[in-house]
């Protein structure tokens, strides 16, 4: 129970700070928590808002699935093949340090103005961190686990599924958690720059129209979504690994 109490205290402090800022800088810059929640409620009551959520979610789910599958399989290959990993690691790290938004015009030219450009941009953000975390998960696995499975005369598949997989899972979940937020970021940025639909697009048009409460309602919705998914993954990790 003290854990729940801690969460409640953090949440309450956050709301108080928010209200404080609102009073400090005025309603024209930051909407109050109450206004924001009310606005979100009314937005959720309209069918159009749901169409936008649906659009963003479709792009995000596709981008995240691609980042996840691609990142984990690539990471496992690079983790097992030491030479390939040594070659790929600096390349991936350098690639990832490029501010990807400057490449977005090129992405648009390659993929067009539709959902594929958003998906591609999401993958560009999420793939590399998941790959690097999965690769390091394999590389940093304690060698004694592999020796133990040899001593127990496990078959390659027994060793892969009952020893190596559970041993590397925590690291992989960390990568997936990071990849999750970055993919979401990529999709939203994509929508903000060149899209006619989606939450990112709504955000940009609200900025242009100066609708502070709409901006904050969307931000709140996305925050709640990201934090809930992240907590679920952390819970899953703790349940599974006991570390």
């Amino acid at each position: 129970m003290p854990k729940l109490a801690g969460t409640l205290i953090v949440l309450l402090t956050f709301i108080l700070l928010w209200q404080g800022f609102h009073l400090l800088v005025g309603a024209s810059a930051i909407a109050s928590p109450l206004q924001t929640v009310a606005k979100l409620g009314s937005l959720l009551g309209t069918g159009e808002f749901w169409l936008n959520i649906n659009e963003t979610m479709r792009a995000f789910v596709a981008a995240f699935a691609l980042s996840l599958l691609g990142g984990i399989s690539l990471g496992i290959v690079l983790g097992v093949q030491r030479l390939a990993g040594n070659v790929a690691e600096p390349i991936l790290t350098t690639l990832y340090s490029i501010p990807k938004v400057v490449l977005y015009p090129l992405v648009l030219l390659c993929f067009g103005l539709g959902i594929s450009a958003k998906i591609a941009f999401g993958v560009m953000h999420g793939l590399i961190p998941i790959t690097l975390f999965s690769m390091n998960a394999i590389r940093q696995m304690k060698p004694v686990y592999r020796r133990t499975s040899q001593v127990m005369r496990l078959s390659p598949s027994q060793s892969a599924f009952t020893v190596i997989l559970p041993a590397i899972l925590p690291e992989i979940i960390s990568g997936v958690r990071l990849g999750f937020s970055l993919t979401l970021l990529g999709v939203l940025i994509g929508e903000m720059f060149a899209s006619q639909r989606g939450l990112g697009f709504l955000l940009t048009s609200a900025i242009n129209l100066g609708q502070i409460d709409t901006i904050m309602a969307i931000a709140l919705l996305l925050t709640v979504f990201a934090v809930s998914c992240n907590s679920l993954m952390m819970l899953f990790n703790r349940q599974l690994t006991h570390r």
Binding site: V144, T148, V151, M152, R153, L154
Partner: protein, 281 residues
């Protein structure tokens, strides 16, 4: 001070005695590691006969190839030259009936103590009732009964090593290889774990090969101690301790224990000094 000067009965032999029944043997075993710019002659040629049911320890300076010797006997690595045999059959991969306990904590953090101990039996497809019987026994034997539902993260280093020993014990190995199993533990825990190990050895009648850098551990636990030289590691001395089979850590207070330790150190000191003077480890 030599053993003869103290008048104690420490039998030291340049050549090891031919055992009545060799359980595991190494013949002319040599291991060379290929490094990027050179080759490293780590071990051998080594000859060793382990008698059935014997408690044999290997001591040597660090980096002398002790662990390599264990890897070869366990089938975890192959020698460049020479042969390893276990129960008359050449070692090729890990043989059935061989259990290994490593120095590093090898308990699986995602399984509780009971599941850790049962792990190997489950993978081997042993009957569930038999698994339960053997796991209950091993957990009780290693004093883990109250921790059966705990996870390794909740246990001390010594307890985790007990889990690893119990996990090896349930497989009923006929040859137990231990690679500095207590190296990461404090001195008091080490002495007590030594007692556990002796109890386990008596109970299972398994042959035990213990790799250690601790002379007192080797002197207290073993029937016979082999001293290995600096690289390339070869046996330079075999010391028979002459302990009763029914012994425990209290032998450390006997003069005979001092004689054995002194004898081991006399040989090992020369080797340790060589490393100090050449700076290689």
């Amino acid at each position: 001070m030599s053993a003869a000067a103290t008048g104690a009965k420490v039998v030291t032999l340049k050549q090891q005695p031919a055992p009545a029944e060799a359980h595991a043997t190494l013949r002319g075993v040599t291991r060379v590691f290929q490094l990027p710019k050179s080759t490293l002659h780590a071990l051998g040629p080594i000859d060793l006969d382990l008698a059935k049911g014997e408690f044999f320890s290997v001591v040597g300076p660090s980096g002398c190839g002790k662990s390599t010797l264990l890897d070869i006997l366990a089938g975890l690595s192959a020698p460049q030259a020479g042969t390893a045999h276990f129960e008359g059959k050449p070692v090729n991969g890990v043989p059935d009936g061989v259990g290994v306990v490593f120095q590093e904590d090898a308990s699986f953090p995602w399984l509780n103590v009971r599941d850790n101990v049962a792990f190997g039996l489950r993978r081997a497809g042993v009957d569930p009732a038999e698994i339960k019987r053997r796991v209950d026994y091993a957990i009780g034997f290693m004093g883990l009964k109250d921790f059966a539902a705990s996870f390794p993260a909740q246990l001390s280093g010594g307890m985790r090593q007990r889990v690893c020993i119990a996990r090896t014990l349930v497989m009923q190995p006929r040859l137990i290889l231990l690679d500095e199993p207590f190296g990461a533990l404090d001195q008091q825990t080490r002495l007590l774990m030594g007692d556990e190990l002796l109890r386990l050895w008596r109970e299972t009648s398994a042959t035990v090969l213990l790799i250690t850098h601790a002379l007192d551990e080797a002197a207290m636990l073993s029937d016979r101690v082999g001293v290995i030289s600096t690289r390339p590691g070869t046996f330079i001395d075999f010391v028979e301790t002459g302990w009763e089979r029914d012994r425990d850590s209290r032998v450390v207070s006997t003069p005979h224990f001092g004689d054995i330790t002194a004898r081991l150190w006399e040989k090992l000191r020369v080797e340790a000094l060589k490393i100090m003077s050449t700076g290689k480890s």
